[in-house]
C-alpha cells in the first residue's frame, strides 16, 4: 500500500534505510542527552573516580613490588562492575520511564517503527556506557602512571572484552525492560549477570565428585538449565590470566567477541519481538 507523503510545501523523508538510520540516531542522541542530565549516572561516575584515586593511597600501604599490581587489579575489577551497574540501573528503566512518563505516546505515533525506537534506545545506552568506560580507563591510566606503571595493550584488550560483556548485560536489560516493570527487570538482569559470572563455577561443581550440584539430581538439573540459558560471562574477564602472565591467542578474542555479540543479537531480537506486539497503555 503506497501512501502519498509529499505535500505541496514540505518534503518528509521517511522511506528507505537512510531515513531509518537517521531516526535511530535521533532517538539514540536523545537517550544520551537524557543520561547527561541523570544525577545517578554522574554520582556513580564520580564515586568510581574517587575510588580509583583512593586505590593509589591504599597502594602506599602495600609492599614496593605490589603497588602497581594493586592499582591494576583494582581498576580491572571495579571499572567493569561500575559500567555493569550503570547498565542495569539505566537499562531497567530504559523503556519503562518513557511509558510511565507518557513521553512514548507523543513519539511512537510519528513515522518511526517501534524497532527503530528500541534500537535507538539501545544504541544510546551502549554509546553512553562506552563513553563511561573510556573515561574511567583514562582516569585509571593516569593513576597507573602516577604509580610508575603503564597502561599496556593487554589491559586495553581486557577492557575491550569487558565492553562486550557490558553490551551483553545491556541487551539483557533491554529485553527485560521491554517485558516487565523496573524492579523486576533490574533483578532479572542482575540475575543474568551474577549467574553468568559464575557459570564456570557451577560447571565445575557439576563435574566434581562431591557437593550438592554433583549429588542431588534436582540441583544437577537446575545447574544444567542455568548453564544452558545464561551466557558464560567469565569469557570476558581475563584478569586472572593477565595476573598469571598467560598471553591469550588472538583467536580467543575473536571467539569471545563473536560469542558475546551473538548473545547481544539474541536479546535484542527478543526485545524487538516483545516490544513490537506490546500494548502501550
Amino acid at each position: 500500500m503506497s501512501v502519498q507523503t509529499t505535500h505541496d510545501k514540505l518534503t518528509l523523508r521517511i522511506d528507505g534505510p537512510v531515513a531509518a538510520f537517521s531516526r535511530i540516531f535521533t532517538v539514540a542522541g536523545n537517550t544520551l542527552r537524557e543520561a547527561g542530565r541523570n544525577k545517578l549516572f554522574f554520582g556513580l561516575l564520580g564515586v568510581t573516580i574517587l575510588m580509583l584515586i583512593f586505590s593509589v593511597l591504599l597502594s602506599d600501604l602495600a609492599l614496593a613490588d605490589q603497588k602497581i599490581r594493586l592499582v591494576t587489579d583494582f581498576g580491572l575489577a571495579v571499572i567493569p562492575l561500575v559500567c555493569i551497574a550503570t547498565a542495569v540501573l539505566l537499562g531497567a528503566v530504559l523503556l519503562y520511564k518513557e511509558i510511565d512518563r507518557k513521553t512514548l505516546y507523543a513519539i511512537l505515533p510519528k513515522p518511526i517503527r517501534r524497532s527503530e525506537f528500541l534500537l535507538g534506545k539501545f544504541l544510546g545506552l551502549s554509546l553512553l556506557l562506552f563513553g563511561q568506560l573510556i573515561l574511567l580507563a583514562v582516569c585509571w591510566a593516569g593513576v597507573l602512571h602516577l604509580r610508575g606503571g603503564t597502561f599496556s595493550m593487554a589491559l586495553a584488550q581486557a577492557l575491550g572484552l569487558n565492553y562486550i560483556e557490558i553490551l551483553l548485560v545491556t541487551s539483557a536489560a533491554l529485553f527485560f525492560s521491554a517485558l516487565s516493570r523496573p524492579v523486576l527487570s533490574g533483578v532479572l538482569t542482575l540475575g543474568v549477570f551474577l549467574v553468568g559470572r559464575i557459570t564456570y563455577v557451577i560447571n565445575d561443581l557439576m563435574q566434581a565428585t562431591k557437593g550438592a550440584f554433583a549429588e542431588v539430581p534436582a540441583m544437577r538439573a537446575l545447574g544444567r538449565v542455568l548453564v544452558a540459558i545464561v551466557p558464560d560471562l567469565s569469557t570476558f574477564n581475563i584478569a586472572d590470566e593477565l595476573q598469571a602472565g598467560v598471553s591469550l591467542p588472538p583467536d580467543y578474542f575473536v571467539h569471545a567477541t563473536l560469542y558475546g555479540l551473538s548473545w547481544v543479537g539474541f536479546f535484542v531480537a527478543l526485545s524487538l519481538i516483545v516490544f513490537e506486539r506490546r500494548d502501550l497503555v
Binding site: 500500500m1 503506497s2 501512501v3 507523503t5 505535500h7 510545501k9 514540505l10 518534503t11 518528509l12 523523508r13 521517511i14 522511506d15 531515513a19 537517521s22 531516526r23 535521533t26 536523545n30 542527552r33 537524557e34 542530565r37 512518563r101 507518557k102 513521553t103 505516546y105 507523543a106 513519539i107 511512537l108 505515533p109 510519528k110 513515522p111 518511526i112 517503527r113 506486539r277 500494548d279 502501550l280 497503555v281
Partner: protein, 330 residues
C-alpha cells in the same frame, strides 16, 4: 470498499483490556464504526472513561484493537507513512522535561525526516503561532498544563499533516486558553485540515464539528451530522410560566392539554414548557385565561449538551466521576 475521500474509517472497533491478577475483562470500546471524510471535522464525545482515548490509541497503533478494523488513509495504522500524515495531540501531553520547546520540535522534526533548514524555519514560526516564542528556550520542566498543551499542538502541526487527531485539546486550559485553542482549531479547519478530536465537555465544541460520535461506556449512543442530530430546522419554543397558587393543578392541566406542549422542568408553581412555535398564540391565550404569568418566551433549539444527557444514560458529575449504571454488565 474504502472511498478515496475516507481518510479515517473505524469498522466495528472493539478493545477489551484484561486487568488484575485474574485477568478480568474490561470492555473499553465496543463496536464503534465511523468514517471521517477529507476536510471534515468530527467530535468524538463522551464522559470520562467512555473509551475515547482507548479508541484514539488504536487509531495510532499504540494499542491493538481486540476486534474490528481501522483504515488510516486507506492503510493499516501500523503503516508509518500513513501515520506521517497525522498530527496527534495526546491527552494531557507530556514531553521530555529536560528539553526546551524548540528541542522537542526539532526532535519530532527529525523523526518526520524534515531537513535542517525546514526545521529552522518552521519551528520558531509554529511556536510563535502558539504564543510560545517567549518560552522557546526554556526547559519544559515547570511548564503549566496549558503551555504543555500548546507545545503539543505545535508539534502536531510540524509536518503540516492532513489529519489532526486531538485527544481532549481543551481540557486543563483556562477560559482564555480554551478560547484561543478553539479559535486555532477553527482556523486549521478553514485551512482544509480534517479534524478528529475528543472531548468530555460539550458546551464549547459545538461550533467546531460537522459531525459527532457520542460514546458512553464504550458504545456509540448517537452519531451523525450535527444538523441532523440537533433538529436545527425544527421550530420549537420554550416558555416559562408561573401559575397562580390557588388553581395550580387545573391551570397546569389546562396548559399541558395544548397540542405538542411538553413539560421539561417544574419548579414549584413555575413550569418550563417546550412547544411547537405555532402553538405559541394558543399558549398565550391559555395563560391569560388561567390568570398565570408568562415569565419568558424564547425560540429554542437543542444543544449538544441536551442531546448528550438525553442519550447517555448517566451523567458526569462535577468532579468527573460517573454515577454507576444500574445493573451494569461485568
Amino acid at each position: 470498499m474504502a472511498e478515496q475521500d475516507d481518510i479515517l474509517a473505524l469498522e466495528h472497533l472493539g478493545k477489551t483490556f484484561r486487568v488484575g491478577f485474574w485477568g478480568t475483562k474490561v470492555q473499553a470500546v465496543r463496536d464503534v464504526s465511523l468514517v471521517l471524510k477529507r476536510g471534515e471535522s468530527l467530535g468524538y464525545l463522551g464522559p470520562n472513561g467512555s473509551g475515547k482515548t482507548t479508541s484514539i490509541k488504536c487509531i495510532l497503533s499504540l494499542i491493538q484493537p481486540t476486534v474490528g478494523k481501522i483504515r488510516l488513509f486507506g492503510a493499516d495504522p501500523s503503516n508509518a507513512a500513513a501515520r506521517a500524515r497525522v498530527g496527534y495531540l495526546p491527552e494531557a501531553p507530556y514531553f521530555y522535561d529536560y528539553l526546551t520547546p524548540r528541542e522537542v520540535l526539532d526532535y519530532v522534526g527529525k523523526l518526520y525526516g524534515l531537513d535542517g533548514s525546514t526545521r529552522k524555519k518552521r519551528i520558531p514560526m509554529l511556536l510563535d503561532r502558539l504564543g510560545l516564542s517567549h518560552a522557546m528556550d526554556r526547559e519544559l520542566r515547570g511548564f503549566s498544563k496549558g503551555m504543555l498543551q500548546r507545545v503539543g499542538i505545535a508539534q502536531s502541526l510540524l509536518s503540516d499533516p492532513d489529519l489532526l487527531i486531538y485527544d481532549e485539546p481543551l481540557s486543563g486550559l483556562d477560559p482564555i486558553g480554551r478560547k484561543e485553542v478553539r479559535e486555532l482549531m477553527a482556523e486549521l479547519r478553514r485551512e482544509g485540515k480534517s479534524l478528529f478530536f475528543s472531548s468530555h465537555v460539550l458546551t464549547d465544541i459545538e461550533t467546531l464539528c460537522d459531525a459527532v460520535c457520542i460514546l458512553d461506556r464504550g458504545e456509540v449512543v448517537a452519531q451523525g451530522r450535527l444538523s441532523d442530530l440537533l433538529r436545527m430546522d425544527k421550530l420549537e419554543s420554550e416558555a416559562l410560566v408561573e401559575l397562580p397558587l390557588d388553581t395550580l393543578e387545573t391551570a397546569k392541566a389546562r396548559l399541558l392539554a395544548l397540542p405538542g406542549v411538553e413539560l421539561t422542568e417544574e419548579l414549584g408553581p413555575v413550569l418550563r414548557l417546550r412547544l411547537p412555535t405555532d402553538v405559541v398564540p394558543g399558549l398565550t391565550a391559555a395563560v391569560v385565561d388561567a390568570r398565570a404569568t408568562l415569565r419568558e418566551l424564547s425560540q429554542h433549539r437543542d444543544s449538544l449538551e441536551e442531546l448528550f444527557v438525553q442519550k447517555a444514560v448517566h451523567m458526569v458529575s462535577s468532579d468527573g466521576q460517573r454515577a454507576p449504571k444500574a445493573g451494569s454488565p461485568e
